[in-house]
Point group: C2
Chain length 152, copies 2
DNA sequence: TACATTTGCATCGTGCACGATATTAATGAC
DNA sequence: GTCATTAATATCGTGCACGATGCAAATGTA
């Protein structure tokens, strides 16, 4: 059989793509209770850890551009999860602060990671496998981010 | 530091999400030459391997639903990459066939996987690591697909 | 053979992603 | 100080994803 490389089953990118979608889907029931989506949950995690970041600082942490984040933050502001204010020091920057409602969701989110990992850990995959996978993906992210920068 | 689990850096789902987006982005320059997107490339790969599948058979291979695939296939038909015809045996089914144009793209796509893997393989990550990662993700996909089915 | 159920596909609405482009503020060069 | 350049966001258009819903063909059941 020729063209083995063009077979879906021999590709590594397709499993990453599918796993990403399925994981987002697995999060959905938990996040739905909180009235948020997975990308919104990511924004909240960033702000729970470090409130008062600029839009640009959030883009760097989530590896998303402003053309994705601006409308997303706008929706979250409308949902009263956060405020957006121009920085007085640099009028170009927009600083994002959590509202009380946004802060309070943290308590509700606390059990989510453990619930997810419970689904994923099986007799075939243990925690050290997961950590190894995380490290490997982070190395790829480093490479791909670098590669992307060089194309511009 | 409490709430370590809610820190972005300690999550494994976020690297999968980011890596997926970055990989799609890395594919883009190659696919742009062919005038297609990554999901369209996936459909082509499925059909190159096995032409004349029904929409349902494609959804099973790509783990996508018809509400994603129907418009996608419609766009690809408009681009003259494939034809969609109702099955005469089962009038509910739609059978998808590649056009000559769609078939011919295979030659152009042949070098893509190798180019991508060249970017990803480094001194820190070798081919057996990649295969291990692929196997692990496929196991997760199996679990998550099962988990998703149980919720319905 | 009626009729409820299931199956295969499509449509609709919403929310990402992201390239391209625009806008305004800050910075740099002279 | 003037003007080009850069930086920080925002907007627009297009293409996914996906839950919810609709619809017609096939299947199952009494």
């Amino acid at each position: 059989m020729e063209d083995v490389q063009l077979k879906l089953s021999s590709q590594v990118c397709f499993p990453i793509y599918s796993a990403s979608r399925l994981i987002t889907k697995a999060y959905r029931p938990y996040l739905e209770e909180m009235g948020i989506t997975y990308p919104q949950y990511l924004v909240l995690m960033v702000l729970w850890e470090n409130d008062g970041l600029t839009v640009n600082q959030i883009t760097e942490k989530l590896l998303l551009n402003t053309n994705t984040l601006s409308p997303l933050l706008k929706r979250m502001e409308k949902m009263e999860l956060l405020h957006r204010n121009r920085s007085s020091e640099d009028e170009r920057s927009v600083i994002v602060h959590l509202t009380e409602k946004g802060k309070n969701l943290k308590a509700q989110a606390r059990p989510i990671p453990e619930n997810l990992i419970k689904i994923l850990l099986t007799e075939n995959i243990n925690l050290s496998d997961v950590i190894q996978l995380k490290d490997m993906l982070n190395e790829w992210i480093r490479i791909l981010t670098e590669n992307d920068k060089n194309l511009k």
